[in-house]
């Protein structure tokens, strides 16, 4: 059940080359909007992004997980098998608590901050 820290080419292809630096290690906080699931833990557990950012979850466990908002604030993911990804674009600033709908002890949060300057969308 121990999964290699170096991501497979499937994963790399799925989430895009932008993660090339981040996927080498389980701790990938450096890439905004990227959350890995390892050993039933969302990593990182708390993510802060600018409005308009697409957050992508990748399941690296050998068991199914699923992403659901704690208060139905965003669309839940389909069941995510090993190496499946789910993406959602957060356009409205706020704090979004979420959990795994199969293993609800797994919780995380996305903090969406307003963008500043002429590119502001909200």
């Amino acid at each position: 059940m121990l999964r290699p820290l170096i991501a497979s080419s499937v994963l790399g292809a799925t989430v895009g080359s932008v993660l090339a630096a981040g996927v080498l290690f389980a701790r990938a906080e450096a890439t905004p909007g990227t959350v890995f699931i390892d050993n039933f833990i969302f990593n990182p557990k708390a993510v802060t992004v600018k409005a308009g950012t697409t957050v992508t979850w990748t399941n690296r466990d050998d068991i199914v997980h699923g992403i659901a908002s704690s208060n139905n604030a965003f669309k839940k993911s389909p069941a995510m098998d090993t190496d499946d990804t789910y993406s959602f674009t957060f356009t409205t600033p706020g704090t979004y608590q979420y959990f795994c709908y199969l293993h609800p002890q797994m919780v995380g949060s996305i903090v969406v901050e307003a963008t500043t300057g002429s590119n502001a969308t909200q």
């Binding site: 050998d62 199914v64 069941a79 709908y101 199969l102 609800p104 002890q105």
Partner: protein, 311 residues
């Protein structure tokens, strides 16, 4: 009196764990809340087997194909072959959930195809893996048509009252398994007015006692459910979900979890997560299996024999 009769929970539990981990089928009878070991399976089968005998299988996870067991359908088939080889035909079977891995129609079809070879009536309750289709309706359409809510129901057999509960629907963030208000009200009504001498068997997927909170192995509102059963002299709670045998006796209630037919999971706290546990190929079938449950009428006694697929 055997050495297991004293009330030291720790040593009794140790004995239990040792015997179950050794992979030996052990018969336990419950009398006055105290378990008595009657020995290994050969002796158990020689004991009185009159009354009601039924089977429990669990966590078949049809569709699972990861390294912990690349062929979960194959081991389910082995489990059903073991059922068919039993010297005494059970009255029926209960399946305590996670029939499938991904709630796909084909997975349910494949599971039905194998399980129906037992030619037994099967009473199902759903696991969380049976509710991951987009609309969460396939399980209910297949198994829940005669049930209440998301699939709970009760029935009687040989004077024993069986109650199938659903604690895997609409789980709450940060929580454990969940029964919910509507189901609890139904349960309270279902048992009200029944004779306290009627044996009760409660079955659900996630344990109705807290096995290990950190891994979510428990049910938030199980204490409320069990409070409705206090007057009954014999309550047996059968669960799955944790893919290993665990047993606890608390007053009039015996809690028991069955092995999976698909893959083992680690003992609480012994691994970084409760995910599927990869074991050497020659060990796998010693960690998968079925459970045989026997009631002896008029004795308020219960016996559970856990049999691994091999060894």
């Amino acid at each position: 009196m055997s050495e297991f009769d004293h009330r030291d929970g720790v040593s009794r539990r140790k004995v239990l764990e040792c015997m179950t981990w050794c992979g030996t089928g052990v018969l336990w009878t419950i009398s006055g809340g105290v378990p008595h070991s009657l020995g290994i399976m050969g002796e158990a089968q020689a004991a009185d087997t009159r009354g009601l005998t039924f089977l429990q299988i669990s966590d078949s996870h049809v569709g699972f194909d990861k390294p912990a067991n690349p062929n979960a359908l194959g081991t389910l088939e082995e489990a059903i072959a073991k059922v068919n080889a039993l010297p005494q035909k059970p009255a029926f079977m209960i399946h305590t959930g996670d029939i499938t891995h991904l709630s796909k129609e084909k997975e349910f079809d494949d599971a039905d195809h194998i399980i129906s070879q037992s030619r037994l009536d099967v009473h199902y309750v759903p696991g969380e893996h049976d509710f991951v289709d987009t609309d969460r309706k396939i399980y209910s359409e297949r198994y829940g048509r005669a049930a209440k809510g998301h699939g709970w129901y009760s029935f009687d057999a040989n004077g024993v009252h069986f109650i199938g509960l659903v604690n895997t629907f609409d789980l709450k963030a940060g929580g454990l398994g969940n029964l919910g208000t509507e189901q609890l009200e139904w349960l309270e009504h279902d048992v009200k007015g029944r004779s306290a001498s009627s044996p009760i068997v409660l079955f659900a997927h996630v344990p109705l006692w807290t096995v290990y909170q950190d891994w979510g192995w428990g049910t938030d509102d199980s204490a409320q459910a069990l409070s409705y059963l206090k007057k009954f002299g014999s309550v047996t709670v059968l669960n799955g979900h944790i893919h290993q045998v665990m047993q606890k006796v608390e007053g009039n209630v015996t809690f028991h979890t069955a092995r999976s037919t698909a893959f083992p999971q680690p003992a609480p706290g012994t691994a970084p997560s409760p995910g599927p546990m990869k074991v050497p190929e020659d060990q796998l079938r010693k960690m998968l299996g079925i459970a045989n449950v026997n009631f002896k009428q008029n004795e308020q006694r219960l016996a559970i024999v856990d049999s691994p697929l091999q060894g």
